[in-house]
Amino acid sequence: MVDKRKIRLMTRMAMYEQAEGREDLKVSAYYRKDYVSMKMVVTFLWTTVGFGFAMLLVLAGGMSTWMEHFDLTFLFVLAAAVIAIYLALLTITLTVTARIANKKHRDSRMRVKRYNHNLLRLIKIYERERQ
């Protein structure tokens, strides 16, 4: 005979597995610190690449202006400004990444816990059926 409780449980779990479950199971396989660190390293690389591209655009846009004011002092000021902007950008992106990654890991763990709890209930139902 069909066990309604079992069907309901299995449907709920299957729906979760097909939607958020895949990503959640991947995320929750890491320790929180490891996951956040990994994301921050990726963000560091992307931000550096992005900053490089942005600098290229700025350089392309202001090429004629740079050439007019080109001397050693200007070069130092420019380098200092570029480094300061890069560090500020890095701080912002890393902070945002850390927050997002922390929240994502916490939420994923919570959902996976619920999923595991359902899995245990299902196992118990099967055991009861066998007896």
Binding site: T47, G50, F53, A54, L57, G61, T97
Partner: protein, 377 residues
């Protein structure tokens, strides 16, 4: 008004039934409109502008996540721009990569806002976007709206300056890039629009979260008014030529969009709102509760007075038993002599009339429980 709410409920029920198909349809239309917009404005590559390719691409995008449509649109723009100048295509590509690195990577689900913003510009109703996302979104939506605005102005610039860009040729590529970057990022009209969109979105978001009655209507109206003032002031101060008719009509469309969104997502009855005040050890609470409008869709029930009763439960039939009974029936039939066939009745009208009468009487007896009483007695 009640009819409208009933219609809304019916639409919701219909959507619940066919959610997957509707979602795919919307995704397909969005992709088709986006690719049409790109090809219409930048159709420099004949092959990519082919309607069949556009259609095929839209069908593919309909079955993939929305982020794929955004990436496909970005690639299409870059591909069309390579036909004009490699330098311009490279700059456009870099701008898209920057958008991806600094925003879309973090929030791929809101990437669709970039597309919607560009589409709204094409449809001449850009002012709808900040009002709509101020009502149904969060302040973070500012970023994709700004990205969409920049993307649109890049497309518009290339479309407008096509002849001069082509004349420069490959020799003046550096000059081309410099001019393109300057024209795109120092475009005063774009800066005015970005400023207006940011302020309008934040204003609408703040107002709609207030606990005043008709907050959504006030938010939409104030956002539209603020948009008109900022854009008009910006155009005067920075000397930008803007169409005021478009500005006013666009703002009216924004208010209309706000009203539609309120009807769809925030249908409440302010006349029945209640204010409650209570306290605990740490706080005083001032709570305002506004009931949602809920209209039940009237269900049409058809009662058949002579219909057959159909059992809802599935009967499990034992095939062996049936075979056994069939064999018994055959044996009995062989033992008994066959009765003579009667001639068919000629008074068909009377017979059918009697049948209807009998069926009606039987169903009435069943409805009035006269059969049960007879059995019980």
């Amino acid at each position: 008004m009640d009819n409208l709410y009933v219609l809304k409920e019916q639409i919701q029920q219909l959507y619940a039934k066919h959610a997957k198909a509707v979602d795919k349809g919307i995704q397909f239309i969005l992709a088709l409109l986006t690719f049409y917009m790109v090809n219409h404005n930048l159709g420099f590559m004949g092959l990519l502008s082919n309607p069949l390719i556009t259609l095929g691409l839209s069908v593919i995008c309909a079955f993939l996540p929305t982020i794929v449509t955004v990436l496909a649109a970005a690639l299409l723009v870059v591909a069309h721009m390579t036909a004009v100048s490699l330098g311009i295509a490279a700059v456009t590509g870099i701008v898209f990569v920057l958008m991806f690195i600094f925003y879309i990577r973090f929030s791929p689900k809101t990437a669709v806002v970039v597309l919607l913003t560009a589409l709204a510009f094409m449809l001449k109703i850009p002012y709808v976007i900040p009002v709509a996302f101020g009502l149904v979104g969060t302040p973070v939506c500012v970023v994709p709206i700004v990205c969409g605005t920049i993307a649109w102005f890049m497309i518009e610039y290339v479309e407008g300056a096509l002849s001069s860009l082509k004349e420069a040729g490959s020799e003046g590529m550096i000059n081309q890039i410099t001019v393109y970057v300057k024209q795109t990022f120092q475009n005063k009209e774009m800066l005015v629009m970005i400023l207006a969109f940011v302020i309008v979105l934040l204003l609408v978001y703040q107002v709609r979260r207030m606990s005043v009655n008709h907050a959504w209507k006030i938010a939409a109206a104030s956002g539209a008014a603020a948009g008109i003032v900022i854009v008009a002031a910006g155009s005067v101060v920075l000397g930008v030529k803007l169409s005021y008719v478009e500005l006013i009509l666009g703002s009216v469309a924004a208010v209309a969009a706000g009203l539609i969104l309120e009807f769809l997502f925030f249908a409440v009855d302010y006349s029945r709102s209640e204010s409650v005040q209570y306290e605990d050890d740490e706080y005083y609470y001032y709570v305002k509760a506004v009931p949602k409008i809920a209209v039940a869709v009237p269900e049409k029930t058809v009662k058949r007075i002579n219909g057959r009763e159909v059992s809802q439960e599935t009967e499990i039939i034992d095939a062996a038993q049936i075979r056994k009974k069939a064999e018994q029936a055959d044996e009995e039939a062989e033992k008994k002599p066959r009765p003579r066939k009667r001639a068919p009745q000629t008074k068909g009208g009377k017979i059918s009339g009697n049948t209807e009468h009998l069926l009606l009487t039987r169903s009435l007896r069943r409805d009035l429980h006269l059969d049960d009483e007879g059995v019980n007695e």
